[in-house]
């Protein structure tokens, strides 16, 4: 995965909320990794569900996609797909840059 910036355009009304929102997603990564270590697929599904629900609303559509993938994979107990999507989410959060337009 390249380290190129990922530009996301976000509504300026949400500017104050975005730092906290992104910080919470980083915490989600930690929770996801810990749940995956414990093979806690119920918790994984729940975190994925919540990421899917909230990402797109803030303008981070890809985030919702990763969340949805994790939720589906958790139902199938598919640790590999979950790991892949945690990595993609981690990389996304590292590279994302917000433009308020």
């Amino acid at each position: 995965m390249s380290d190129e910036k990922i530009i996301v355009q976000v509504d300026p009304d949400l500017e104050e909320l975005i730092p906290g929102f992104l910080e919470n997603r980083k915490l989600d990564i930690e929770k996801l990794r810990s749940a995956l270590n414990e093979k806690d697929f119920v918790n994984l599904g729940s975190i994925g569900h919540s990421i899917k629900g909230v990402g797109g609303g803030y303008g981070f559509d890809l985030m919702s996609e990763f969340g949805a993938n994790i939720e589906i994979a958790a139902k199938e107990n598919n640790a590999d797909v979950i790991q892949e999507n945690i990595d993609r989410l981690y990389h996304y959060l590292k590279c994302v840059e917000v433009e308020y337009t």
């Binding site: 929102f21 629900g53 797109g56 609303g57």
Partner: protein, 458 residues
């Protein structure tokens, strides 16, 4: 009485266990000028509903503890008309169908699209004109409680329809205040509001009072008398204590309500009437119907929209705002600086059982405001005032006095202030009758002016 800025805004309660979702929805809604409160669980939402009285609830479906479906059911148990929008991360058709069956107004899937969300909110929100009619209505009634808010909401919704409203509640609970507010909020507001206490007037007089009589209809009926139904034409008539109306008159009232016309006593002619009827009673009319004391057909004709006013003790949160209101009234009326209750005096007021309801509260407040030596009304004064207040039962002398005065007013109204005729109807000679009038400070001349009817009856 609702006093915050949200009076003119739609109030939305958002419920989700994810703070990021709450933050997002709150930002979108606030920008669109909605007044927003948030809850992190179904239980917190239920607790908030009583205090905040939202116009709309938006809830997540999947939450720890009480989920969105359970919350929807609880909300609608209390207020079936409250719009609820359900949000779900899953676009599962069975959930959506179940939610719709339970009465949800809309079902949206996450991630939420801002435009779709705001359009849905706008569509299911009550319109501001309904809300502003509620607020206009609420201005004339002082309350803070959910129970009174529900009554005011219902009353404001029906004010402009001509349906019969039936108000129940204990003596002194404010039935006439609600009736007057309904009249004031209706399109009949520029016409007359006439109130009559059916329990305070003897049967023969009550018939004449309500429906009128022709000259010579009975002894002492020397002039034609227009009844209150005709006097209220175009306006509203409020029949207080309708449960005390004798059975024979109930039949006549029923006929009036069915035919929209009255036939005065001793007349062969009927007169069309266009009157909105509001009635009230402190009695259990269902029981009276069962015992055969009240006509079932009339009961259902009156009780199209029932409003049950709770006792003051059941809505303690109204007591501080009512006390404040009556203290203001007292200071204006007596041109005095407004007094206030000390905190322990107010706590005592709030904790009292108030068997005489709002009327007793007014008596106590007036007494306290009169006797307080300085601006602060102390606990000791309130305690004495409450215990000295004989509101629970009138003395025989007071009851006789009240009845006699009501009787004299009625005969004078019927005879249009003609003392000789009134004395004849009352079975007294003129000198005795004049003595009685003097005793009660009643001036017969005032009854020669037709417009006095409303003032005196009210």
């Amino acid at each position: 009485m609702i006093t915050n800025k949200s009076e003119l805004m739609i109030k939305v309660l958002i419920v989700d266990d994810d703070d990021d979702v709450l933050n997002l929805l709150e930002t979108w809604l606030t920008k669109e000028k909605y007044d927003v409160k948030r809850a992190s669980s179904g239980l917190e939402a239920l607790n908030l509903v009583g205090i905040y009285a939202p116009d709309l609830v938006i809830t997540d479906l999947y939450m720890e503890g009480m989920d969105g479906m359970a919350l929807l059911t609880e909300l609608h148990n209390d207020n079936p008309l409250l719009p609820v929008i359900m949000l779900s991360g899953q676009a599962q058709i069975p959930d959506a169908i179940k939610a719709m069956h339970l009465g949800t107004s809309a079902f949206l899937t996450k991630p939420i699209n801002q435009n779709e969300f705001l359009e849905t909110v706008s569509k299911v929100s009550p319109n501001l004109s309904d809300k502003s009619s509620f607020n206009e209505f609420a201005k004339s009634i002082v309350f803070e409680s959910k129970a009174m808010s529900d009554i005011v909401e219902m009353a404001s919704l029906v004010a402009d329809n001509d349906v019969s409203v039936f108000i129940t509640g204990s003596t002194g609970s404010g039935k006439e205040v609600i009736a007057k507010s309904i009249h004031a909020a209706s399109s009949r507001r520029d016409r007359r509001f006439i109130a009559i206490n059916c329990g305070a007037i003897p049967e023969q007089l009550l018939e004449s009072e309500l429906f009128g009589h022709e000259k010579g209809a009975f002894t002492g009926a020397n002039v034609r008398h227009e009844g209150l139904f005709q006097a209220a034409n175009g306006g509203t008539i409020f029949l207080d204590e309708v449960g005390d109306m004798p059975l024979a008159l109930q039949v006549k009232l029923l006929r009036v309500l069915q035919d929209f016309e009255v036939r005065p006593v001793g007349s062969t002619k009927t007169y069309p009437i266009d009157v909105r009827l509001i009635s009230a009673t402190h009695k259990n009319l269902e029981e009276a119907v069962e015992k055969g004391e009240f006509r079932e057909d009339l009961y259902y004709r009156l009780k199209v929209i029932p409003l049950d006013i709770p006792n003051l003790a059941e809505r303690q949160e109204d007591i501080p705002v009512l006390a404040e209101h009556f203290l203001s009234d007292f200071s204006k009326k007596h041109h005095q600086t407004k007094k206030k209750f000390s905190p322990d005096a107010m706590r005592y007021l709030v904790s009292m059982p108030w068997p005489g309801n709002v009327r007793q509260l007014i008596n106590v407040i007036d007494l306290c405001a009169t006797l307080a030596k300085n601006k602060n009304i102390p606990f000791s004064l309130v305690k004495n005032a409450v215990h000295d207040d004989p509101v629970q039962l009138q003395t025989l002398k007071e009851a006789k006095h009240e009845f006699e005065r009501g009787y004299l007013l009625s005969v004078l109204r019927i005879t249009h202030g003609h003392v000789a005729n009134a004395a004849k109807m009352a079975g007294r000679n003129r000198t005795e009758f004049y003595k009685l009038l003097n005793q009660y400070g009643i001036e017969p001349a005032k009854f020669r002016d037709k417009n006095i009817i409303e003032k005196e009856v009210n």
